[in-house]
């Protein structure tokens, strides 16, 4: 069962990366707004047609 050391290290290593990512997300305000992001993805970013002609 020595191999479990490898798996433990790898799994805990990955989990720590995720934990740091989670703490970063939390602290940097990623989750301050729990409504806006869900709605924002529904809008497209294509420029309005009039501006296209100016190009």
């Amino acid at each position: 069962m020595e191999v479990i050391v490898i798996l433990l290290l790898a799994s805990i290593g990955i989990a720590s990366i995720f934990l740091i990512a989670f703490l970063w997300a939390l602290k940097s305000g990623q989750y301050d707004d729990a409504e806006g992001p869900a709605v924002r993805i529904l809008f497209d970013d294509s420029p309005p047609p009039s501006e296209d002609e100016e190009q």
């Binding site: 069962m1 290593g13 997300a25 990623q30 294509s46 501006e51």
Partner: protein, 717 residues
């Protein structure tokens, strides 16, 4: 604020979409062929087309080619829009695309030629493994850089799923692929026996988790709201879903090894984590389905949503069933049967297949600036496909339960009621129905191919889709403390990002290099009479692996009354310490072989390999007549011994020099034996002699006393 003008790369999305469709059809057809081979064993024409090689081709094509390209298609489409940025590097995108397709072709060819590491879903040989790592890193760099260059501050939940996918798959792939090469297309796992099994199923289950599940959840969180044109039911829930899922998933692997020789506590650990998984999984499913609340009228009209609803429902069913099958008492019935096969096909056909189809139908008309050619055909695809899944899985569930009950049935006198073959022939009608269900699924996919072809012809690809967005504000938080001092502010100004990424990889790689040192020590046998394989047996084992025998035969007797009565004493961990790789298997389409050694005379195996039905009328095993004239490569023997020695197998020093002599001695003995029993002149170096040597060895060590001298040596170690 000044808006920045840029464009989205739709061409790469198109390429991955077409690759998804192409490899999907290949994977489905390979599956249908394998399903038919079980009903009509005559379809095993040549060594290259035997079931044991076709089945890995099917699984690899379905997982890594179909779903893999589906992931890249969906990620590259949605990531650009979620980040409001074009993919970081076009060159890297195309390198990624062509690299992945080359790997797929190489995989298909080598698997059929019998080059395999013999571990399920990780069969590809080491040069391809390295290529996968390289292309995966290219994908990762492209994705991470796009994320760093994004114009949108918030990382939408889908992006988190993509990142988790990338990081975890990279680690799993590297850890599980640890192997020492014998030559360009052959290597041996650095892990042995039980340890190899643990690593393999840690990988295997997480391949399901982080290749078939998390990336597709990301796709669900983007494409389902887009298709329904409404926000996800609860964004808060999606965040909890993500973090809970990734923290729990990683330890569920041992549920593939319940009642095996894996220590009990490790099994229980796997069960606990597997049961916990139901909560985040169902949270995700509910989130997907509730997104459509109040919009079910749309589902009635829009085939895209129909596909997605069935996909999410299939996800829910599979993730309910999974934890149930992880319970030991349920697993005692389900393991080694077609129940497992039905379970995974609910996931792959339903969840992955239907979500892919939904995304394709939504995305193709958009990048080709047109409408789908025919809604009727989309609906036809949906209904035929759904019917196909149902007709596929129900007979297999039935087959699994039936066979398991038959295996466990004793007569009033206390003997097994059915021999193994009876339990196979009994479920053949179900196998036939399953093949028909798969056929329907393919018909549906064929309709899609036609429909998409027509759509593509009528539209024109918008290669570079113009977009504009404001540059990213330095921070979204009002917390001034972090402003400007952010780690990735710092990192963004330097090309060192690459370095950081490679550092993570290297440290994982470094970890793996320590592995052999670790494991050599642990290979000290705990059962003194268990000895390393003879050179000829090693060759036989290679043939066993090359022909994928593990796809149908387990080598792991569980401690149940029926299994002990049928196959012999239950398996112990100490019996597998020289097995690089382990061959415990996961499915019994044929009987367990852990103790087949000495059960039949050599001549029985000889006739059975040439034509299984001659010894077992009604057997569905492929015939291997070519084993009589195909020869093993004797010259490889010294190298094999040296690789095994480097992995800690205790052959005496210098044994590689005399191994060939031993090989010939044993081979001639078996050939003479066959001559006496069958009257045939059998080539001593033929494959059939080697495989007989291996099969006759299996499970025999524990029943004999080890030589006294070697016992002492073991103790000294």
């Amino acid at each position: 604020m000044q808006l920045e003008k840029f464009s989205y790369d739709n061409k790469i999305v198109k390429m991955f979409a077409f690759a998804t469709i192409l490899w999907g059809m290949v994977g489905f057809l390979a599956g249908l062929f394998a399903a038919l081979q079980l009903v009509f064993p005559e379809l095993n024409f040549t060594a290259e087309t035997t079931y044991g090689r076709v089945r890995p081709l099917h699984t690899n094509a379905a997982i890594f080619a179909f779903v893999g390209n589906g992931i890249f298609m969906g990620v590259y489409y949605s990531l650009q829009r979620l980040c409001k940025a074009r993919l970081w590097s076009d060159k890297l995108s195309y390198f990624h695309f062509w690299g992945w397709q080359t790997i797929i072709v190489a995989a298909a060819v080598t698997l059929l030629l019998g080059f395999t590491q013999g571990k399920e879903y990780a069969e590809l040989e080491w040069p391809i493994d390295i290529a996968i790592a390289v292309v995966w890193v290219a994908f990762g760099i492209n994705m991470m850089m796009t994320i760093l260059k994004r114009r949108e501050s918030h990382l939408y939940v889908a992006i988190w799923f993509y990142i988790a996918t990338w990081v975890t798959v990279a680690m799993l792939h590297i850890v599980n692929s640890g192997a020492i090469p014998l030559h360009f297309m052959k290597s041996y796992s650095v892990y042995a026996g039980m340890q190899d099994a643990l690593v393999q199923w840690w990988y295997g289950h997480n391949a399901v988790a982080f290749f078939l599940t998390t990336p597709y959840l990301g796709l669900m969180y983007y494409f389902l709201p887009k298709a329904a044109n409404r926000p996800i039911y609860s964004y808060r829930l999606s965040i909890i879903h993500f973090w809970a899922l990734i923290f729990i998933y990683i330890w569920a692997g041992p549920h593939h090894l319940l009642y095996t020789s894996l220590p009990d506590w490790a099994q229980s650990l796997g069960v606990v984590f597997s049961v916990m998984l139901i909560f985040p999984s169902w949270g995700g499913m509910i989130n997907g389905l509730f997104t459509l609340r109040g919009a079910w009228d749309k589902v009635r009209e829009d085939p895209v949503l129909k596909f997605m609803v069935v996909a999410v429902t299939a996800y829910g069913m599979a993730t309910f069933e999974g934890p149930m099958m992880s319970l030991k008492n349920v697993n005692a019935i389900s393991h080694y049967t077609d129940w497992t096969v039905a379970h995974v096909h609910v996931g792959t056909l339903g969840w992955n297949g239907f979500l892919t189809f939904g995304v394709l139908y939504w995305l193709i008309p958009r990048i080709f600036q047109t409408k789908m050619y025919s809604t009727k055909l989309m609906n036809a695809h949906f209904w035929i496909g759904t019917l196909g899944i149902i007709i596929y899985v129900i007979p297999l569930y039935w087959a699994g339960w039936t066979q398991s009950i038959m295996w466990k049935t004793f007569t009033a006198d206390g003997v097994l009621q059915y021999n193994f073959l009876e339990t196979v022939t009994h479920i053949l009608p179900m196998y036939g129905l399953r093949a028909f269900g798969g056929f329907l699924f393919i018909i549906g996919a064929g309709i899609m191919v036609y429909n998409i072809m027509k759509t593509v012809q009528s539209g024109q690809l918008l290669d570079n889709e113009a977009a504009e967005a404001a540059p990213r504000p330095s921070l979204i938080s009002t917390d001034k403390k972090y402003q400007g001092a952010h780690w990735h502010r710092w990192i963004e100004r330097r090309p060192i990002q690459l370095l950081v990424l490679s550092l993570i990889l290297v440290s994982i790689g470094g970890l793996v290099q320590i592995v052999p040192a670790f494991l050599v020590k642990s290979n000290v046998p705990t059962i003194p009479s268990v000895q390393p394989y003879t050179p000829l047996e090693l060759h036989g084992r290679d043939i066993y692996i090359q022909d994928g025998c593990y796809n149908c035969h387990s080598q792991m007797i569980r401690p149940f009354r029926d299994e002990v009565a049928r196959y012999g004493d239950y398996s112990k961990a100490g019996e597998f310490v020289y097995d690089h790789p382990f061959q415990w298997g996961s499915k019994r389409t044929g009987p367990d072989l852990a103790r087949v050694g000495g059960k039949y005379p050599d001549s029985w195996h000889y006739y059975h390999m040439i034509d299984p039905t001659s010894m077992a009328p009604g057997s569905i095993m492929p015939a291997y007549p070519w084993m009589v004239w195909k020869e093993i490569n004797v010259d490889l023997t010294p190298g094999m011994i040296r690789v095994m020695q480097s992995l800690g197998v205790p052959y005496p020093e210098g044994y590689d020099q005399i191994a060939i002599d031993d090989l010939y001695e044993q081979a001639n003995e078996i050939a003479d034996n066959l001559k006496n029993q069958t009257g045939e002149n059998v080539l001593a170096t033929s494959e059939i002699v080697a495989i007989i040597a291996y099969l006759q060895r299996l499970g025999t060590d524990v029943s004999k006393e080890g030589p006294a001298v070697e016992k002492q040596e073991v103790e000294e170690q």
